[in-house]
Amino acid sequence: MRERSELGFATPYENVSGEVAIVGVGEADHTRASGRTSREIAVQAIRRALDDAGLEAKDVDGFMYTPYGAGLDAQAFREEFSIEHDLWVSTQGGGMVWAASGPYEAAQALRAGKARTIVNVFSVAWATQRGQMVGGPGESHAEDLFKQNLEIPFGWFPQPVYFATIARRHMHEYGTTEAQLGAIAVACRRHANATPAAVMREKKLSLEDYLASPKIADPFRKEDCCLISDGGGAYVMTTVERARDLAKPVVEVAGVGLGSSDTGVHWAQQADFTATPQKYAAPVAFEMAGLDRSDVDVLACYDPFTIVSLMQIEDMGFCPKGEGGRFVEGSALHFDGGVLPYNTHGGMLSHAYVLGIAHVVEVVRQLRGEAAAQVPDARVGIYGGYTGPQAATLILARKD
């Protein structure tokens, strides 16, 4: 058998700690099917992020997005905001893993003088598009010809099935239980109930409710799976030096790390089946930040499914590998008194399915003391981004 160390790697990152600040955050309205386009959702998120920073569109000279399901590309950004000056553009932005690694790209651009004020945006209108059977999270997977010809014919599709398969194997290897997965869903719902912008703000979920819910992809219930919603978010970055002159408390990028699997892009063939590349990403970020797990006041992870939260909590080192189930039990993840307040806006399970961009927004608000489910005196927060074969850790810290 191959050594575990040969199954993945961390991208070598220069130390950018203390160079970049997130100075503005904004969310578009998060809704069920709304009839909106992802472009107008992105515009709303950017306007709110700029307002939050006390900046105007004319101040923006850097733009980050992702070509994957892009609501707003650079040309559309120029049109919507009447921008005619030079713009540094990066496609290494957006949500998922890039909402975490994007600030590293931004640091490089700020260092090189390519930009001074950079917007990163992500938006989706998948709830609206689902009714028309176009777009949506399953489509990019169904277009993969290996999946079409080796997975889908057997019913091994789509994402809930992949991750229920992972969850059952995790249960076998480590004794993880359905009730432990349920504790994650309950914590996220509780946080959404306290968050006015959350899609599930009015729908309660107890552990008893969770356990009584029918299984759709056994061992998963629908409560193990993220929402499908329309929405988006944006954040504005500049240098820490310049951030001191802006209105809000300074939240800096203290550390960032990017990890990758070396065993391809298909979940079926991941050698490290019950782990995520956070185990490569997180050590880089913590070392860069000069911080340890015990310094973290609030954690937000890309959470398409409960098991993805559990694995990232383990792989980031908040507990030994395999002990995540026991770690998340009870109120451990709750914002008010939990040992590791987690997805304090409700995450993708209960806040909105905007692929992690709202997680970064939430962590920044926590560190400013502006969150709805506020963790008292939160000073260090993390966003963990995930795509499957890649994961990234973004450590943010309040500076004052």
């Binding site: 079409q148 057997f154 019913g155 091994w156 398969t165 992809a217 056994d218 063939q269």
Partner: protein, 147 residues
């Protein structure tokens, strides 16, 4: 999304997996194996992922495997599966190299009989879907003791 008319049946003519499906049509399970280092190259690629070797030959397997993990699907994620629900789908690790996992359906048993790492064996059955013309012979698996 544009899909083939036969979706979710496989495209048996797609070159990277053509041998897999043509072997299945003869009730054989075959996977590409590296002539240099003997590792199976799965999913199929131009080269061996273990040693980079370019000589890959499709080799017949015993059809014995272990059940790596599975899911009981009760929700029609794809409408073509609605009449097949509930179905058990999952991954089996082939005996010749347990690092190689085949997505498959587990048949001829109830979910209650299943256990992780239990021995399973291949059975060949025709895949059909309501509203989709044609059928494709495919390697499914059943518990070894179920005979």
């Amino acid at each position: 999304m544009e899909t083939r008319a036969e979706f979710p049946l496989p495209d048996v003519a797609w070159e990277p997996t053509r041998e897999f499906w043509s072997a299945a049509a003869r009730d054989e399970l075959r996977l590409p194996r590296c002539a240099s280092c003997a590792a199976f190259a799965w999913y199929p690629g131009e080269r061996c992922r273990s040693c980079g070797g370019a000589q890959l030959a499709w080799e017949r397997l015993s059809g014995r495997a272990t059940l790596f993990s599975w899911v009981v699907v009760r929700h029609p994620f794809l409408p073509q599966f609605r009449e097949n629900l509930p179905l058990v789908t999952g991954l089996v690790a082939v005996d010749e190299d347990p690092r190689v996992r085949l997505p498959t359906r587990i048949v001829e048993c109830t979910p209650e009989e299943l256990a992780i790492d239990m021995p399973v064996e291949v059975v060949f059955r025709d895949l059909t879907f309501p509203g989709v013309a044609g059928h494709v012979r495919a390697p499914l698996f059943r518990p070894l003791a179920a005979r």
